[in-house]
């Protein structure tokens, strides 16, 4: 009976393997998000010649835990005129969409463990790239519905601005990724990484990489594109009225989104888990080393995002929309044409 249950599978994977992976990924994302907040405060502090949090634990390392406890137990104040259902649903959707998008990102190449093909992601699917785009696109609703549900003018303004911003940049990002798809000949992220054995795509697709990174900053509402919560104009934008764990979910979603876009950028442009120093990749240890490479590259991108946030000023809203529609989108199309013609020319010669 127990043995039967252990071998029951939905498709190629045992359900309990998936379950364990799911718990690990969830734990990893939650921890990463928590420590990113600490990292962000430390980075901003050093950029502004301060020290940053240093009281809770050595070097402030327990600060995220303290913050989490505070967020969980704080009183849940909420405006009386809110939409009760969506006021809960929207923050949960924000965190949920951000976490679900991570399901298809491969942290390392498939490794063989006693004849079982261990994938280093939750689900190995063909249309992985489209899946990530589609799921992260759901974040628009979390922001819009959240701002709307609060029945606060600042919230609604922030929500509208933010959703218009997100849809504008989603477009540009999607077109930028087409060049990668042409070169990799696949939408499967694992195959896309494997196609970079000889040269990372950032070398072959520098324009696409740049477009994606700019788009990613906008998609995660980071400075210089953090218009939705421009605190000088809109208090805190769409999450003005959210307190306690409702705010916590938005916060979590935002930082998990950062991890997701940086991981995706790593897989698409920085060669994913492919090492700079060669390492034979067959057993599970090799797989783990791959994960280290992957996370190392992603961390550099994350640091870059923080650096940009604390260095650049915020864009004005009309300029932001102009950048999306009149610069990034045409450049994305141009990138498709360039990539297409180069591939055609090389095939002809």
């Amino acid at each position: 009976m127990i043995a039967d249950l252990a071998h029951f599978s939905i498709g190629p994977d045992y359900w309990w393997v998936v379950l364990i992976k799911g718990v690990i990924v969830l734990g990893f994302l939650a921890t990463a998000a928590a420590y990113l907040t600490l990292a962000e405060r430390k980075v901003s502090a050093h950029i502004q010649l301060r020290i940053g949090p240093n009281r809770v634990g050595p070097f402030g390392l327990l600060q995220p835990a303290a913050d989490a406890v505070k967020l969980l137990f704080k009183e849940n104040t909420a405006p009386a005129g809110r939409d009760k259902l969506l006021f809960w649903l929207a923050p949960a959707l924000m965190a949920g969409a951000a976490i679900l998008a991570y399901a298809v990102i491969p942290l390392s190449g498939t490794t063989n463990v006693n004849g079982y093909a261990l994938h280093w992601n939750m689900a190995h699917v063909n249309v992985a790239l489209l899946y990530v785009l589609a799921i992260t696109a759901l974040g628009v609703y979390a922001i819009f519905l959240g701002g709307w549900a609060a029945n606060n003018k600042y919230s609604l303004l922030g929500a509208l601005r933010s959703s218009a911003q997100l849809i504008s940049y989603e477009m540009a990002v999607a077109f930028a990724l087409i060049g990668v798809v042409i070169l990799a000949h696949s939408l499967d992220l694992e195959e896309i990484v494997n196609a970079q054995q000889h040269a990372w795509f950032i070398v072959m697709q520098p324009l696409a990489g740049l477009l994606y990174f700019v788009g990613a900053l906008a998609e995660t509402n980071r400075l210089p594109f953090d218009l939705p919560e421009a605190e000088t104009e809109l208090i805190a934008g769409y999450h003005t009225e959210y307190s306690s764990m409702r705010f916590g979910f938005y916060f979590l979603g935002e930082y998990v989104n950062m991890v997701t876009v940086c991981s995706l950028a790593t897989a698409l442009f920085l060669g994913g888990w492919l090492p700079l120093i060669p390492w034979i990749h067959s057993d599970w240890l090799g797989g783990l080393v791959g994960v280290m490479w992957f996370l190392g590259k992603a961390s550099i991108l994350l640091f870059l995002m923080m650096w940009i946030r604390w260095t650049l000023p915020r864009l004005r809203y009309d300029r932001l929309m102009n950048l999306g529609w009149k610069v990034l989108l045409p450049l994305g199309l141009l990138n498709i044409v360039i990539t297409g013609s180069v591939v055609a020319a090389r095939a002809a010669s």
């Binding site: 962000e40 939409d83 969506l86 249309v127 899946y131 589609a134 696109a137 959703s163 104009e233």
Partner: protein, 214 residues
């Protein structure tokens, strides 16, 4: 390739339930949320029959883009957002009739097709590689003309959209919101100036205020 019956029925029930919610819920934004859920479930249904690209399309366009359009359209209509009125329109018997007619047509097609629709075996190649590349091949070789025509169709839709939403049609409305916005901006600018002045004053006095917004 067979459809897992349990998965199919679970998804089907959810599709129908969310679809009913769309028409039955009085609050229009709630209805939009139910619509998103419904589209999402339809994508799951496509996955269950092995159409992965179609599912991704459904997710991106129907779950991810169309409801944004609908919600923005709702935001344009004054006051309709809060009206928790009766969701039954006056002509509901007509709607019922149309729906039943459509259902009858579908059942009719089902009946005369004698199972032909699932005779073909699902190629293993598609299960392994996914359907996207095959669709691409088909689009560019056999259906090249429809592919280009689709582009022209989208162009027409874009031109139509721009014309439709152009300024002069809704001049009065715009002017009003324009005025509101100007006033709002005025207030914001005023506040920012005051803040700046205060900050400069503080800086002059040598008191630094580190940005602790995180």
């Amino acid at each position: 390739m067979t459809v897992n019956p349990v998965a199919f029925y679970v998804i089907a029930v959810l599709v129908v339930a969310t679809a009913i919610a769309v028409v039955a819920v009085p609050n229009i934004i709630h209805a939009a949320v139910a619509l998103i859920a419904c589209f999402f479930m339809v994508a799951a249904l496509y996955l269950a029959i092995g159409a992965d690209f179609l599912a991704a399309t459904q997710l991106l366009i129907y779950a991810g883009a169309i409801p944004v359009l609908i919600i923005f359209a709702v935001m344009l209509t004054r006051g309709s957002m809060r009206r928790e009125g009766n969701s039954w329109v006056r002509w509901w018997p007509l709607a019922l009739l149309v729906t039943m007619g459509l259902g009858a047509v579908l059942l009719g097609v089902f009946a005369v097709s004698h199972d032909r629709w699932h005779r073909g075996t699902y190629p293993q190649r598609l299960l392994d590689d996914g359907t996207t590349r095959t669709i691409g091949d088909a689009l560019l070789n056999r259906y090249a003309l429809p592919f280009e025509v689709a582009s022209a169709l989208l162009l027409v839709a874009l031109v139509g959209a721009v014309l439709l939403a152009r300024r002069d049609e809704s001049e009065a409305v715009l002017e009003r919101s324009e005025e509101e916005r100007r006033q709002r901006e005025e207030r914001v600018r005023h506040r920012r100036e005051e803040r700046d002045r205060a900050r400069r004053a503080r800086l002059r006095d040598g008191v630094s205020t580190p940005d602790e917004s995180t």
